[in-house]
């Protein structure tokens, strides 16, 4: 049971709001949050981001960040509930990192999940790809 849970969370997971979530090592070190390649492509040139504060506690689905692009402003939602333990400060001066590298140097924040069951609401890569195929 535990092993199964661990396998689920180690994969890259997605939300229908186009955030991704990735657990790199143990859950205690937090899960990394970013936006998908599809999302950055839709937003176009990203020119600023309002980041959450470290220590901030969010429920799943609450706004944790706001991204401004030349096309629109877009809320970024917490994929799971938890405490923000780190934010990507590089984005303050270089928000375009999200366009250039959405899954790597364009990460947004690290969250310490408080409810592992919420991971079950998230989409796998295959499910997410199918979803954007439908909406696109």
């Amino acid at each position: 049971m535990l092993a199964a849970k661990k396998r689920i969370v180690l994969e890259l997971k997605f939300t229908k709001q186009h955030e991704w979530l990735k657990v790199k090592e143990e859950m205690e070190r937090g899960a990394i949050i970013g936006i998908s390649d599809f999302a950055q492509e839709q937003l176009g040139d990203i020119v600023s981001i309002e980041l959450p504060k470290s220590g901030g506690i969010f429920r799943q689905g609450q706004t944790i960040a706001i991204i401004d692009s030349v096309k629109a402003s877009s809320d970024i939602y917490a994929p799971v509930s938890g405490e923000i333990i780190e934010v990507n400060e590089d984005l303050i001066e270089k928000p375009e990192l999200i366009n250039q590298s959405p899954y790597d140097s364009g990460w947004i924040a690290k969250i310490k999940p408080s409810n592992l069951e919420e991971f079950e609401n998230l989409l796998t890569k295959e499910e997410y790809d199918r979803y954007i195929g439908e909406i696109n």
Binding site: G44, D45, S48, I66, D68, K71, A72, S73
Partner: protein, 355 residues
């Protein structure tokens, strides 16, 4: 959905297509910021064939237009153009247009795509005995904008164009295609707009063939919007509409109160005392204000944003907003974006001036 003659070309270039007032238009090709910067440094090619074009002909055409537009056509001679609002009787703005004077009895009016039918009806209903014809479908319109626009076109038309002054027209042969060039645009940059027969779409490739030499790249509606905003050029539907008079926005210079003919809206404008004014602003924090965001002075709501975006040239968050006339030109204000208020400062509407 409507398409311009260049739709297939936009698709083949991988443009992101959006619905703009019923038109399938390119929003961007390589990216808004990249296209924007290329227009400021080299030259960009815009398809603006979605704009409406009407020809007004006949002995009554000058008189008819003098009553329709607020600016004075006597300020220009043949082969020149003039910018002007068209007003309703109450001073509200029907549209802002450019009138091209081809001859004393022949004019072309170029109107916003969003207002084509409304404007055609308005002009037709006030045309007296002048003939009004919608020539939008048989003509096409491209804009070549940027510091190297003149060099690019000179290479193609084989005549000197540097001496063509702003808002002047010249007829040219561009690689076998008869064109009318007008030294006008909507980017705040030097450039020309090109009128020609809509069947001659090969003109696109002729203009694009010197990519290496002049750095010409296609530019979409996204860059068109950020470019015009930096230059303080207003957009109908955002910064003005039927509930706005030209005296509330920086268009007083286009109202010719003393021209011979009485234009529609004159009485209302003479007696109007605007309570608000359109000004520029810069957000001092890292957020972009957008149309509809509220503006506050000392906690009191005083106005709203009509246009806002990121300026790729000065790399700041800029925009236009309405505030009461008595607000100081450099007043510190706050703009509510989402749930929070952000510090901003009022400014001139011109954020960028070329050369």
């Amino acid at each position: 959905m409507m398409r311009t003659p260049f739709y297939d070309i936009h698709k083949s270039l991988g443009a992101k297509i959006v619905n703009f007032n019923g038109w399938e238009m390119p929003l961007q090709y390589s990216g808004i910021v990249d296209e924007h910067i290329n227009v400021r440094t080299n030259v960009g090619l815009f398809d603006v064939s979605h704009m409406g074009r009407f020809e007004i002909r006949g002995p009554q055409s000058l008189l008819c237009l003098q009553e329709i537009i607020t600016n004075d056509l006597e300020k220009i001679t043949n082969q020149q153009a003039i910018y002007s609002p068209i007003c309703y009787e109450d001073g509200g703005i029907v549209d802002d247009v450019i009138v091209y004077r081809l001859a004393a009895d022949r004019f072309v009016v170029v109107v916003n795509a969003s207002n084509r039918q409304k404007d055609f009806d308005w002009i037709s209903n006030h045309s007296k005995s002048a003939q009004v014809e919608d020539i939008s479908d048989e003509t096409a319109l491209l804009a070549v904008q940027g510091p190297r626009a003149c060099d690019l076109l000179e290479k193609l038309v084989k005549i000197e164009l540097q001496s063509v002054r702003p808002f002047h027209l010249v007829n040219v042969n561009l690689g076998g295609i008869e064109c009318m060039l007008s030294r006008t645009g909507y980017t705040g940059e030097d450039g020309f707009e090109i009128f020609f027969d809509s069947s001659r779409i090969e003109i696109w490739d002729k203009l694009m063939q010197y990519t290496e030499l002049f750095g010409v790249k296609p530019a979409g509606l996204g860059a068109r919007d950020t470019l015009r905003l930096e230059a303080g050029l207003m957009l109908y539907g955002n910064d003005m509409d039927e509930n706005t008079t030209p005296l509330e926005v920086p268009l007083k210079w286009t109202i010719s109160f003393d021209k011979k003919q009485e234009f529609i809206g004159k009485k209302a404008l003479v007696n109007s005392h605007p309570s608000r004014k359109l000004v520029g602003f810069e957000v001092l924090e890292k957020r972009i204000a957008r149309q509809g965001n509220k503006v506050f002075v000392s906690g009191m709501e005083v106005g709203f944003v009509t246009s806002g975006n990121f300026s790729p040239t000065i790399k700041r968050s800029i925009g236009l907003c309405f505030v009461p006339v008595n607000v100081l030109p450099d007043q510190s204000v706050e703009i509510k974006i989402g749930e929070k208020k952000y510090k901003a400062k009022l400014s001139s509407t011109r954020f960028y001036k070329h050369r």
